[in-house]
Assembly symmetry: C2
Homo-oligomer: 205 residues x 2
C-alpha cells in the first residue's frame, strides 16, 4: 500500500494527501460528532465498500488523524485524535460553503440526522449567543442528540444530556427548517429560551 501523493511542498497539498481522497472527509464528518464503529460508518457512507473503508481507516490512523479504541461492546471504535479534532474549523468552513447551495433535499439523497448537528455548529454565531447558557435535547424516533451553548461556545453530541433544560420532539432539521411555530415542538422548557437558542444561528450566511 504505497500512498499516492501530490508531491507538492504546500500545506494544502499535504492536507489533501491525507484527507483529500474520496470518502475521507465524510468519514471524518461522522467521527466529528461521535465515535463510531465500523458497521455504523459503513451504513452512513452508503456505497463505500468495506475494503475501501478499512483502507481509509488504516491510513487515517497511520496519519494520526483518528484512533482505534475499544468500545463497550468489545469491538473496535474509531474516534478523532487531537489532530483530527483540529480539522473541525476546516470542516465547518466547507459546510458553510456547501450550504450556499441550499439545504434542499435532492430526490434520492440519503440523509442522517446526525449530519445536521455539525451543520448547526457551522452556522452558530458566537456574537449572537450573548450570555445564553442552555442545553437543548433533541429526540425524534431513534434520533437522540443535544446541543449546548455556553460561554459563547457551542457543543453537540449524541444521546441524552442530563443538564438539558429544554426538550423538543424534533430532529435538528424539524426544528430549524420545519414549518409552523417551533415552540409547538416543546416537550419541556421555556419557549422564549428556545427562541433565543434558535436565534444564535444564521442559517443563511
Amino acid at each position: 500500500m504505497t500512498k499516492r501523493s501530490y508531491q507538492q511542498n504546500c500545506a494544502l497539498a499535504r492536507a489533501s494527501d491525507i484527507i483529500g481522497e474520496r470518502w475521507t472527509l465524510l468519514l471524518l464528518r461522522d467521527l466529528a460528532v461521535f465515535p463510531r464503529r465500523f458497521k455504523e460508518l459503513l451504513a452512513s457512507l452508503k456505497g463505500i465498500g468495506s475494503n475501501l473503508l478499512a483502507a481509509r481507516l488504516k491510513d487515517l490512523e497511520a496519519a494520526d488523524v483518528i484512533a482505534r479504541g475499544q468500545g463497550d461492546h468489545g469491538g473496535p471504535v474509531y474516534s478523532l485524535t487531537e489532530r483530527g479534532r483540529a480539522l473541525e474549523p476546516a470542516l465547518l468552513a466547507l459546510i458553510r460553503w456547501g450550504l450556499s447551495y441550499g439545504p434542499e433535499n435532492q430526490p434520492g439523497d440519503h440523509h442522517h440526522e446526525d449530519w445536521d448537528l455539525l451543520a448547526l455548529k457551522a452556522v452558530f454565531q458566537a456574537t449572537r449567543a450573548g450570555n445564553l447558557a442552555v442545553t437543548v435535547q433533541f429526540a425524534s424516533g431513534d434520533f437522540e442528540a443535544w446541543a449546548r451553548i455556553e460561554d459563547q461556545q457551542m457543543t453537540v453530541g449524541l444521546g441524552a444530556a442530563e443538564d438539558a433544560s429544554i426538550h423538543v420532539d424534533a430532529t435538528v432539521a424539524d426544528l430549524f427548517l420545519g414549518s409552523g411555530d417551533p415552540a409547538r415542538r416543546l416537550i419541556k422548557g421555556d419557549a422564549a429560551t428556545l427562541r433565543q437558542f434558535m436565534s444564535a444561528f444564521a442559517l443563511r450566511i
Copy 2:
C-alpha cells in the same frame, strides 16, 4: 459526462461533490491568488494530464465556481467567481491544518513560490496587526508579488504594487523561514516596519 455524486443531503457532501475530486482544491488554490491560463495550471499541477485539467475546469465552470475569461494575450484565462472566492475561508482553514505537519520540504516535492502567498494569508492574525498599514513587495528571480495589511485585513497578489513602501529581495519563504536577520533582505523601506509586518503572522498556531 455524468458527474459522480455522494448522493447525501449534507452540505459537506455537496461541497465534496463539487470540490472534492482529485486536483480540484489545488487548482482553486492557484486561482485564489491570481487568474491563470491553461498552460500555467498545467505547469503548476505537475502530473495532472491535460485532459483531466480540461474536465475539471469545465465542471467547475458549470458549478459556477470559476469563470473562463479572455486574457490580454487573447487566450482564455480562468478566475474565481464570487462563489469561488467564498471558498477562501475553507482553503485557509485547510492550509492551517496542513501546516501542523510542518513547513519542511520533502525531497522530491515541487514548489511554487505563489503557494506561500496563500499560506501567509492563512497564518495572518488580524488582532496582531493593530493599525498597521503597509504593502510589502517581494521580488526574487522571476517571482514578484506583494502583500498588503490595512484595516486589519490582508490581501496578496502577483506582480508589482505601486504603493509598496517596503521592498525585499526575497520570496515569502526566504523572508519568513530564511536564516539570519530578515532586515538584510531589505532593498527599500524601514526595518522596524518590516518587523511589525512580520509579527502579524503566527507561523506556528
